[in-house]
Point group: C2
Chain length 264, copies 2
């Protein structure tokens, strides 16, 4: 069965996009078939995966508002085989207000994605993983992702403020589970921008592991400038600098995630 | 006249809160009277300024929804004299959806703040500066701030993705200027987390300075772990480690900002 993972955390800049695109690339390199859904109006995931996303390009905005079917909008990532992308454009910025007054405003992505997954399966092109990159908020775009997803992937930056936001996120997840999507569960928490030289990072990591136990991946993603340089070349770190610590840590995190599938 | 500065950028994690609280502390230390308005449901600015903000505490949520007057909600920062705070609580997370259907949904903060500034002036306790910390989105909370503010302070992280978001932000500001607040102008762009050792940071800084010229403060805020440790002690870096490069750079940035007042 296709794993549908929502990459979410309303705290800004914690590594949601970086984790979504690099994990996707790592999983695709191991032969899995991947779909990345970009739900952030900034379109950072589309940039990192070298997919056109200027204003007016067919995008997740058209899918959410029912203007275009999923199949017509999804494109292949030129940099990584087996990796497909539903791009996000700036048009999405207006979607939250537009969606508020529509019927079934919270479940539009769920319906569109379920239809697309079924169609792909029928064509013998089933996805192994779908990763949905969310904006830094708990508004209707993220709610749509949480309703459509089956599992959650929560990047947590090893910084103090990142801890504070976790309680708010888990409360929102509870209420999504109660009202929209009872199957939603936390698949993994990923520690990001871990700087082994600072007490702060070690302290935050200990606190998160102490609180969430095995839900936290053993692999922590190190702070690495190669990771933050890659998107300026329209690449993931996997292809930009394959031997770097950043790249290796995402490969390890991907195999930890894949190992969960076998256990389930 | 009181300067009302909106600290905004929809890109997450670029240093909005860090810049708002540390600039405010630096200006307060030089004898100015400051008000920090926390409009982010995460309440990070309230945390950094050691102000209670657990659920249900009187907050900016009550002011925006008209339940409580500004005067009854504002508290003094225990760590820094001359610095007052309108705290944010988790209750604010629901405000965006709640505000959508209210009358004058975009100008609620403007009306409440204008009233409070007039009352403070009448009491002989005029604020010199108001800094409004925004969440990482361009939703109704940020629109309320942009309608209430007179100037904009835009933190830009020296990373690639930060560049992409600027166009979207400037477009939103244009439309706010056209429909809600014609006086709104960009007072300053502040480069944050500048790591002199990386080509990426220098490249981004050059690009921003090339594009925005003198609007960019000469002082760039360096990446410094002391800055990110301070909030875990409920302090600004000004009091946590006064002699550190991070603290000194915020003092310099504050005096650059203050010098603009004299020119105006
Ligand atoms: N492990 C890392 N080491 C160094 N830099 C990183 C790392 N992970 C992410 N970054 C950089 O940190 C910044 C924030 O990361 P990213 O944009 O992925 O976070 P986000 O949570 O998606 O942000 P937003 O909340 O705006 O969507 C980016 O400039 C990115 O390149
Ligand atoms: N100059 C700096 N050096 C090192 N760390 C910094 C610096 N400025 C901010 N930080 C850290 O980077 C993280 C992001 O900063 P901050 O929370 O202020 O950004 P923000 O734009 O307010 O985020 P959000 O979009 O979630 O509101 C925080 O953990 C903060 O402590
Ligand atoms: Mg992102
Ligand atoms: Mg903030």
């Amino acid at each position: 069965r296709t794993r549908v993972l929502v990459v979410a955390n309303q705290k800004g800049g914690v590594g949601k996009t970086t984790t979504a695109v690099n994990l996707a690339a790592a999983l695709a390199q191991s032969g899995q078939r991947l779909l990345v859904v970009d739900l952030d109006p900034q379109g950072n995931a589309s940039t990192a995966l070298s997919v056109l996303h200027s204003e007016g390009t067919p995008s997740s905005y058209d899918v959410l508002t029912g203007r275009l079917p999923f199949d017509q909008v999804t494109v292949e990532c030129p940099d990584v085989p087996n990796l497909f992308v539903l791009p996000a454009t700036i048009d999405l910025a207006g979607a939250e207000v537009e969606l508020v007054s529509l019927v079934a405003r919270e479940t539009r992505l769920q319906k569109a994605l379920d239809g697309h997954l079924a169609a792909q399966e029928a064509r013998g092109q089933r996805y192994d993983y779908v990763l949905i990159d969310c904006p830094p908020s708990l508004g209707l775009l993220t709610v749509n992702a949480l309703a459509a997803g089956r599992e959650l992937l929560i990047p947590v930056q090893c910084e103090y403020y990142a801890l504070e936001g976790l309680t708010q996120l888990l409360r929102t997840i509870e209420s999504i589970r109660d009202h929209l999507n009872p199957q939603l569960r936390v698949a993994a928490i990923v520690l990001t921008m871990y700087d082994a030289r600072t007490r702060l990072a070690a302290g935050v990591a200990d606190e998160v592991r102490g609180h969430f136990g095995d839900a936290v991946l053993k692999t922590a993603i190190p702070r690495s400038v190669r990771i933050s340089e890659a998107p300026s070349y329209g690449q993931t770190v996997l292809t930009y600098d394959p031997g770097s610590p950043g790249s290796l840590s995402y490969l390890e995190a991907a195999s930890e995630l894949a190992a969960q599938t076998r256990e389930a």
